[in-house]
Amino acid sequence: MSSKGSCSLHSSIGKKQVMGVSGLLLCGFLLTHMLGNFTMFIGADAFNKYSHTLTSNPLIYLAEAGLAALFLCHIFMAIKLILENKAARPVSYHMRETSGRGSTFASSTMPYTGSIALIFLIIHILGLKFGTQYTIIINGVEMRDIYKTTIEYFRDSLHVLGYIVAVVSLGIHVSHGFWSAFQSLGFNHPKYIGKIQLLSKLFGIVVAVGFSSFPIFCYLQGGK
């Protein structure tokens, strides 16, 4: 019994633990992003001030770099795993059925829901973060009027629809991903695994519904 001193990241378990940890951290980002966005419901000033506080902090570049690294790591690993898994079954089945007792819609569509979320992420950053720049002065401080950009962006019902499709995909993605990360990291015990799985489903719903509320809110505002 000898273990070769090969890098742990080449191991199938190392890779899934990287997916799990990066995924969980990204879940944390989703949650804070969503909570931050809720300031839009308070009003334009609250949203702009929140955005300004966030972007005017010099540490934001570090945070953004970290976030980008997390995304890249999660995506790179996912592509690697998908390719390896394809190679592990070179001849596919003539007929394949799932038992209905194991895999779920969410678990079997991870690459698709992930890809939809990724495409959306790029469109989202281009359309909003790098979207039209307006400025506004609040309490004597000049800042970006991201509220106006957002409202304008979601005047287009296609943008609203695209956003909802994407965040629902994301919700489905995390509803499997969240509990899956715990399993990968070794947390599975009859005492609590049911609760983690329930939490995972709830988190998926919160992500889908919570994020959908923003474009719908903006669309309704934009009509005025």
Binding site: M1, S2, S3, G14, N85, P90, H94, M95, G102, M110
Partner: protein
């Protein structure tokens, strides 16, 4: 085997035929009458083979041995599920009463790069043996055995180890996994040993070695679908995979090799 003629079924079978490892292979249609609902799936295949031998002198190769659900040889993908649609049932324990007269049944071999098809429905599962040889054992010194009662084993661990030891190495987990991952099998073997004091000593190194071998042999990566657990004829739980993940992580952190 009871029943009269009116009880028997006629089936349309689509079976994978492949001459050898090099052959491309294809699905071939067969019609089989007079199948009794009391037959096991393997007896139905025997009946088909008898017919084929009489008619064409060539039979369908498939693995089988105990025919009582304990050896793990009877690997067949039946209608897209490993060992057919019944939960916790091997092909040899699956009965034809689960099918209806006129049904079309698709029978294929396990599909995985690490399980090459030898002929028809027979695959080479030697990869599992190679994983076992990499660490699925306990090293013991020769000499007198010590008194069995001198090693205490908690009841709970004894039960869990026994549950893991129920794995018959059939490969249904690999076959049913969309990624052709062998993690359920490997985790059952690792758990069975890690849960007992005799095996626990080498658990971290064992896990590293067996997982490395599993990866080397070309099995896929687990994505926590749990389809393996659902289609395992022995009800092995993915809780074992979580245990293996923990053991592996501990080993990756502490191994000095």
């Amino acid at each position: 085997m009871g029943g009269n003629n009116s009880d028997t079924m006629s089936l349309n079978l689509k079976v994978w035929r492949q001459k050898n490892n090099k052959d491309k292979g294809s699905m071939i249609d067969y019609k089989l009458d007079g199948v009794s609902p009391d037959m096991s799936f393997l007896e139905m295949m025997d009946t088909l083979n008898n017919k084929l031998i009489k008619e064409q002198g060539d039979s369908i190769a498939f693995d089988h041995d105990c025919r009582e659900g304990i050896c793990g040889m009877c690997s067949m993908m039946i209608n897209g599920q490993a060992h057919g649609p019944e939960a916790e049932t091997t092909t040899c324990q699956l009965h034809m009463r689960k099918f209806k007269d006129g049904d079309t049944i698709v029978v294929e071999p396990w599909r995985a790069k690490a399980f090459p098809v030898l002929k028809d429905l027979m695959v080479d599962r030697g990869a599992f043996d190679n994983i076992m040889a990499a660490g699925g054992f306990v090293n013991v010194n020769t000499g007198n055995p010590q008194d069995a009662n001198s090693i205490l084993i908690g009841q709970e661990n004894a039960e869990l180890a026994m549950d893991a030891a129920a794995c018959i190495g059939c490969g249904a987990c690999v076959a049913s996994c969309k990624n052709a991952s062998a993690m359920l099998f490997v985790s059952a073997k690792i758990s069975q040993l890690a849960l007992l004091p005799q095996g626990e000593v080498e658990s971290l190194a064992r896990t590293q070695a067996m997982v490395a071998k599993m990866d080397e042999l070309g099995f896929g990566n687990c994505t926590n679908e749990a389809e393996c657990e659902a289609q395992c004829p022995k009800g092995i739980k993915i809780e074992n995979i979580a245990r293996m993940n923990r053991e592996w992580f501990k080993g990756a952190l502490t191994s000095r090799k």
